[in-house]
Symmetry: C2
Subunit: 158 residues, 2 copies
């Protein structure tokens, strides 16, 4: 598997490689070069109270953040595996409809991150994520996640 | 929906009320009054790298922790809704087989927690969770989660 170079390749990678992403009904909604937005319908992601299941919120946010790191690597022509190291998630309000997740970074850490991956084969990055609140108001959930990217080793020929 | 009073009722509540719990293939493995253990097979929870998807790890841990709080309430004859407030999750090692999650508390916060729910109708509690490591060694993931329990209002008769 190689690093996806555009939102269509990312969606295909997530839906074909991660059964739970498919079960969640996840789609890439938008990527403007800085923010990645994913959506998922409520029905497969509902809990016993009729609102969005916390595990789906965690999964969707982590996939949005992981996806953003992959797209920035792919745009730069780099092929690296991206691992999540840790997450801190606050649930702020229930979600009663479609889930909208957005991932973004603060400042511009991408040049340093991409140069490190390209030169020493490894780098870390912090990515923020939010579940958009009802009627576009305050977020329904916020997550900070840290990722490690490691260049894929060239496969030795037989 | 009322608070589950035993592991069988909890498994039924999770699998019937939360489609993603069913999609994950989650089962209650054990409850000894203090620790709740859940298991899920790798196949539906795999990622693009062939090990467990971080979103499944987050979901399984949160369900184990949420389930433990529900069982302690149910054992005490209390009927309350349990909400996750926040989680901090560290991914420590990949999981290449069945996922085993365990939830537990530190010390004995249950008496204070249960008395608060019974008397003022609301209480908070911290619950720890671990994904058991390969060959039972160091954990593959650790999560601290905080929950709020709120007594269900009595339904007014017609």
């Amino acid at each position: 598997m190689t690093t996806p170079r555009n939102p269509g390749e990312l969606e295909l990678l997530m839906r074909s490689g991660i059964p739970m992403a498919r079960a969640m009904g996840l789609r890439v909604a938008d990527f403007d070069g800085g923010r990645l937005a994913l959506v998922a319908p409520l029905a497969p992601n509902v809990n016993d109270k009729g609102c969005a299941f916390g595990g789906s919120i965690a999964g969707l946010l982590t996939l949005a953040q992981w996806g953003l790191v992959n797209l920035k690597l792919g745009e730069a022509g780099l092929d690296a595996e991206v691992y999540v190291a840790d997450t801190s998630l606050r649930f702020l309000a229930p979600v009663w409809g479609e889930l909208h997740a957005e991932a973004y970074v603060e400042g511009d850490p991408w040049p340093d991150f991409l140069v490190s991956v390209a030169t020493i084969g490894k780098a870390r990055i912090e990515v923020y994520g939010e579940i958009v609140g009802e009627d576009g108001g305050a977020p329904a959930a916020r997550q900070l996640a840290r990722f490690v990217a490691i260049t894929r080793r060239a496969v030795e020929p037989d």
